[in-house]
Symmetry: C2
Subunit: 330 residues, 2 copies
């Protein structure tokens, strides 16, 4: 009998269909591993090709060479210059597309993906996230800042050189607003953070936990939308990513490497998106929201049912996915 | 300067990025047209292979042969048998996966896609939708019935033989509930159906309209999530698809054929999903909801930004898409 589980936080339903389900190892991607070179002459993110990007916004250097570099997106979804103007004409409601769209180049080396970086380099990337995140919030036009990473063609990358993106929006997306409302209402009803409660029960249950460190827990949520959908949760309650302490940042780097290495080895370098979910403010003290990281593996495709219902059909089981990932040695 | 438009109905924001935008003809799919045979010996939906499907639930016959046939899905997402049991254990909230999952085989002929059917056959398909829709609502376990169609691999089809699906869920999806709440609130505030208002303004504006008949309007909504996202709207206010009158059904068949033929010719047989959006009840008299059809073309891919924000970046403009589709002769 299939089971429909409800996400405790978003209240979204997900169908788990055992008839259609696969064993975790069947999700291994079929792609052949190509030899990716450490330098590409046409890649705008490689060392030596800096002239191919718009002028640098920020960088971290070591021995005179950049090791992480931030540039404006050459084909931005939003533009820095211009006024933020709202227009309301009947059903035609719009706002000018002002905002921020940056690319965070994670390494000068074309083929040095996160699972193979040393932890120090990963920490430098994460610290750059934080610097640019706080910088973006200084812009008065910005109401939401998103940091995300697309890995692999199936996850929407056009350039394979390791990079992340930051988008600063002049509005709060409807989905995000809904999540905030829901979390606020839970707090008002129960006097606790819904994310903290969720985390606590996932730790107690244990069967969906992939790994746990002093400050972080990695787990496949009980109502995961898709196979191997993974959450990295800080144990300390902070609503904003920018409030993570130095000790947490170091551990975050280590944990991120471990998880991505498990994916790489266990599922043959699958395509994925990494999202940092953080409260919409540079610094925050909100008791009802909790920052975390969501990793969405692109192993399945959505079809008419998903588009029409907003629900998902997961052909795997979180408990099995977690067990499989725990078993992958790194 | 990019523009961010808000969907008047769902309040969702969509970024229109002209820097990244393409001319409509650039969205033509690159796929090569294969010769698809009119019969395949391994296809469970072809005439003569009826033994390859579970036992028939319904069919419409002509001269003793079926022309439309409904069977249970062989790998159902939900199962008919069993009790509807809700379980609440802390964060673990679930319901048994009882429900309906049917396949509606649109024709005995393997390669007879809707744009090439005669209008009578399309009408038979749509009438079958209606019969099965009403039948599904008789099941007391069912709270939501969705009818949808996946065309092409990019839209999630595994079998190319023309078919649609019906899913009867034992719950109301969160997304659907949200749409109902929003429409209800608009009605309470304004004393009119938000969909009727939207339609009226789209007709008055005209620049996003693809075609208009006595009872239907086809348009690309002002804040379309993706290139060529198309809505087919009945002009008469009815909350449920099952309330469409015979005259409307006939016209619906004609309109659907025209739109899909325009896609086929103008965009080289793109992959798409068709969704019927209808009020969650067999028959309804709700003044705040309006049934319609949404066609989502799978021409672009979602990435980290879309997953993290719930927003979309549309690299085309609805006005240009509509102009292009109007220009395609059928």
């Amino acid at each position: 009998m299939p089971e429909i589980r409800q996400n405790f936080i978003t209240k979204e339903w997900v169908i788990f269909a055992p008839e259609r389900s696969k064993r975790p190892e069947e999700f291994k991607t079929k792609k052949e591993r190509r030899e990716i070179p450490s330098y590409s002459s046409t890649c705008p993110f490689c060392k030596g090709n800096e002239h191919l990007t718009p002028p640098e916004l920020f960088s971290i250097k070591k021995d005179g060479n950049w090791i992480v570099r931030v540039v404006p997106n050459k084909f931005p979804a939003l533009e820095m210059e211009g006024e933020k103007v709202r227009s309301l004409k009947g059903i035609k409601r719009s706002i000018t597309g002002v905002g921020i769209h940056e690319v965070l180049i994670e390494t000068p080396i074309h083929n040095l993906f996160i699972p193979f970086m040393d932890e120090k380099q990963i920490l430098t990337v994460l610290e750059t996230y934080k610097v640019r995140y706080l910088e973006a919030w200084k812009n008065p036009k910005v109401e939401m800042v998103l940091i995300f990473k697309n890995h692999g063609e199936g996850a929407g990358t056009s350039l394979e050189h390791p990079h992340s993106q930051l988008i600063g929006l002049p509005i709060i997306p409807t989905d995000i607003r809904q999540r905030l409302w829901d979390a606020m209402r839970y707090y008002d009803e129960n006097g606790e953070c819904i994310y903290c409660r969720n985390l606590e029960e996932e730790i107690r249950d244990g069967e969906r936990v992939v790994l746990e460190t002093k400050n972080f827990v990695v787990f496949i949520p009980y109502a995961a939308c898709s196979p191997f959908h993974t959450w990295i949760f800080p144990k300390n309650h902070n609503c904003s990513f920018s409030d993570a302490k130095d000790e947490e940042m170091k551990e975050f780097a280590k944990v991120l490497k471990s998880v991505l290495l498990k994916f790489y080895k266990g599922l043959n370098d699958p395509d994925y998106n990494i999202l940092i979910r953080s409260y919409p403010a540079g610094k925050g003290v909100e008791k009802f929201f909790h920052w975390y990281v969501s990793i969405v593996l692109r192993l399945t495709k959505s079809a008419g049912f998903e588009l029409g219902s907003g629900m998902f059909i997961n052909t795997s089981l979180p408990e099995k996915d977690a067990e499989f990932l725990r078993s992958i040695e790194i």
